[in-house]
Amino acid sequence: MSEKLYIQKYCSIKNKEVYVGGKLMFSSETSIAKDFFKSVYQFLDIKYSKFFKMDNLSKLAFLSAEFLLDKNVSEEKNTAIILSNNASSLDTDRKYQDSINDSENYYPSPAVFVYTLPNIGIGEISIRHQLKSENGFFVFENYNANFHYNYENSLLQNNKCDSVLAGWVNIDKDSYEAFLYLVSERGEIEHTEENLKQLYNL
């Protein structure tokens, strides 16, 4: 792996808008996360029925990845995934808790339970893009550019993968924020801690 690595593509989804490479790609009026994600799914014009079964965190991760990964490019098959957030899977944990709170009406939902871990979103991206690569999900107070830079750099410099899909994917109720990017040997924006911070704050 060459010493210089680049942020090949990046995407941001928050406040009812989707930006790819800094350009507005899609916006919607709805302030309900589930409805917004559905409108982004429809905008992408894909047919993937499993999307509607995902929890909101997985939907956000899945949609962000759709803007960055070309499912037809074989060289991207060895793409590691390193994600982080603040709320872990709390949004879905609450829904699951609601289904078991009442002992008189105790019907735990298997379909909700399977999403009570934040890294399930990585699994959904991996299934969609047939990735069997290194991956990890970390929980931080805020987006940690220093951690991400070092982890992504280490994976690539040690030839653990050819590219890394990484970033921040956070949701709690209807407040959501995703900042995902693809790191590889190609691109124009150098993969540095400062650049990651700058793109995150755009």
Binding site: K38, S49, F52, K53, Y107, S109, P110, A111, V114
Partner: protein, 85 residues
């Protein structure tokens, strides 16, 4: 029986978030698992919960579900015979 089949289809679509399947596309004899409607093993578990919650039917052996969930027609017949609510 026709009402029960319609109710089942509506419930299955809602409970399993099958947003891309309409009632018109949902045939009585469409296979629920695998090819057809395309439900997976987690969906089957969710249907077992639905049987308990909505119809008071408790399946002691999850393997029973494979026969019962063959299609809506089979499912409705089983519910009509075993429901307690």
């Amino acid at each position: 029986m026709e009402n029960l089949k319609l109710e089942l289809k509506k419930n299955i679509i809602e409970v399993l978030n099958l947003e891309d399947i309409s009632l018109e596309d949902f045939g009585d004899k469409d296979s629920l698992l695998g090819d057809g409607i395309g439900l997976d093993s987690i969906d089957a578990l969710e249907l077992i919960v639905m049987l308990d919650k909505d119809y008071g039917i408790r399946l002691s052996d999850p393997k029973e579900g494979k026969k019962i969930f063959e299609n809506v027609e089979v499912m409705a017949a089983y519910i009509a015979e075993h429901r307690t609510k």
